[in-house]
Amino acid sequence: MRDVGDKAISGGAEAKAVKMLPAAPPERWRRLLAIRELGVLIALIALIVIFTFLQPAFLTLDTFGDILTQAAELGVAAVGVTFLMIAGEFDLSVGSTFAFAGVLLALLVTRFSVSPFLAVPAALLFAGVIGLLNGLITLATRIPSFITTLGTMMMWRGLALAITGGWPISILTASTLLDVLGGRAVYSTLRISALWLLIVTAVFWALLGKTAYGNWVFATGGKREAARALGVPVNRVKLINFSVAGVLAGTAGFLQFGRMSSMSPVWGDALALEAIAAAVIGGTSLMGGSGTIVGTILGAITMASIRVGLVMVGAPSYWYTAFLGVVIVLAVILNVKLEETFAWRR
């Protein structure tokens, strides 16, 4: 992971230069502290210790399975959002893409009896087109993606509501499609969706850290003019990443559809901001140019742990969201402080 971080900052070319900085502590410490996910890792471990201390039942495989299921849907969407944020753009419409693609898939397989082998790729393609459209509008008109996707967020949510009349679409019989997407338990409360999360994480971790495209993404979000000068096709990278964010948001919607055997047009309404929160807790910069996939996943797991943990220790329910907010701010402060203290990581 260290490589990814270093490359993120230096564009991969001068990673060795770091060693020459005078303030660097001994090698062993340097390695540990250079892990970009350190902040979120500390936060997560601290939370687990506190929750287990207050409620021993927290530290069981059952609980972890539930946390992971919750983190899976958020995490898959957040990976796309992180990918896009590193390239310097936002997508606030992922929650609506999540709902629209999910509703589309549900409608195709229920009302129109389309084979899942056709319906899944079709709905995913549509999710990708939604993302691509965000990118095209943003790049062609040069309005900030924050605004473009604020608009498309309302548009796709509205369309999802309109075509369903606001009602959830349900599959009431046993369905292989639902099982594959996230229905069946692998072990205890662990679900297939956790496997999908693992696959998505592995693919995008490799793409970002081990390929030339990954370097392009970092360069695009970092110093754009420099990136252009180096021959990075900045606009193409952004369009691809917008599409990736769309496809992964749609995938997350499918996982929830599989999990619940139902798809409601109102689901995923908090997803965009939670995905950004997961990314930021995990150490991704809001300014673009730096971030990691593993950090985002840990961020998603942290957020899920807080919700489950607070219920288990018996905290008053209407306070959860407030507490979650505090933890997000604390985690980001921790990240920034680590970044400043160990500036040589740059």
Binding site: L161, G165, P168, S170, L172, S261, S262, W267, V311, S317
Partner: protein, 323 residues
């Protein structure tokens, strides 16, 4: 000369039309009633209200019209109500979707002598504005509906039991009223410890939140959800964790998943808003007022419970458009 004839003809035509229209309200051929909602018959919920209105019109032999914009649109609703006033309706039923805007329309209608009843949404209890002069409310009373469903489950809830309410939208006035009704009945009648959990609208979060609660409180005996968004994950949990028989559950409103679970015995009952009545009864009351000056009265349509015995019947009635 030609011009004189033309003016004379026009004058005759004008006077004729005016005297004809002036005579209209005095001797109406057929009473006409308007039911105006903030959403139209494209929405499956309102399609049922629409049917109620049409059926009442047929039964009574009057003109009864349901109107509503394609999607929630208050200005459009106001315009429709103004059109009904201009058409000299014998009575108007309207959802108080926006108290200030709809309140003004109702005042104007009453000022012109047109009787008005509210349906589906009434003036909020804590409304600070000028009181809205509708004659009666025909719709669900959320608080009473909560009490009603809690009473139905009482025989299955032991003394001092722990009870969970899944609140999928904290701060939603209607849902909070439902929860308050449930809580009051259970604490008064059973000394129950009722916990309201913010389960969010996200079903995955909802499920793991409830599961975490049950893990920390394994002695929980009953679970109430306040609508399909809460019910879908709760039913999923009851299935997965094989909680049927250990925890009794009830919900509000009807969707395919909830009805199916009631048929299977996983859910005891769900509250049906019976919106057909909101269309049918409002026209009947307005008709009786127009004919015999009988005062419209409040009518709580939310007394309907769908249980295992009635689920199959209700399901076919849903298909026929009555529920």
């Amino acid at each position: 000369m030609k011009r004189g004839i033309l003016v004379a003809l026009l004058t005759v035509a004008l006077v004729g039309t005016l005297s004809y229209t002036a005579r209209l309200p005095a001797a109406p051929q057929q009473l006409s009633f308007f039911v105006i909602a903030h959403t139209g018959p494209g929405d499956p919920f309102w399609a049922v209200v629409n049917k109620g209105v049409n059926d009442a019109g047929k039964v009574l032999g009057v003109k009864a019209v349901f109107q509503g914009p394609a999607s929630r649109d208050i200005p459009a609703q106001v315009n429709m109500a103004r059109a009904a006033i201009s058409a000299r309706a014998a009575g108007i039923a309207i959802s108080v979707s926006d108290p200030p805007a709809i309140g003004q329309v109702i005042r104007d209608a009453r000022g012109k002598g047109i009787p008005v009843v509210a349906i589906n949404v009434q003036e909020p209890a804590d409304y600070k504005g000028e009181p809205i002069p509708y004659m009666a409310y025909i719709g669900m009373n959320e608080y009473e509906a909560g009490k009603n469903v809690a009473r139905y489950l009482l025989p299955k809830i032991p003394q001092g039991a722990k009870v969970l309410i899944s609140m999928h939208e904290p701060g939603h006035v209607g849902l909070e009223a439902r929860a308050r009704g449930i809580r009051e009945v259970l604490t008064a009648e059973r000394g129950a410890k009722v916990e309201t959990l913010d389960t969010t609208q996200d079903p995955t979060k909802s499920l793991s939140t409830m599961r975490a609660f049950l893990k920390a409180n394994p002695d929980t005996k009953a679970l109430f959800t306040l609508g399909p968004l809460g019910a879908i994950p709760a039913i999923k949990m009851i299935r997965e964790d094989k909680l049927a028989g250990k925890i009794v559950m009830a919900s509000f409103d009807m969707d395919a998943t909830t009805i199916q679970a009631i048929k299977e015995g996983l859910v005891e009952a769900t509250v049906d808003q019976q919106q057909y009545l909101q269309g049918f009864i409002s026209v009947v009351q307005l008709y009786l007022h127009a004919k015999y000056k009988l005062a419209p009265t409040d009518y709580n349509t939310g007394r309907g419970l769908v249980t295992k015995e009635t689920a199959a019947t209700v399901e076919s009635l849903v298909k026929q458009g009555y529920r």
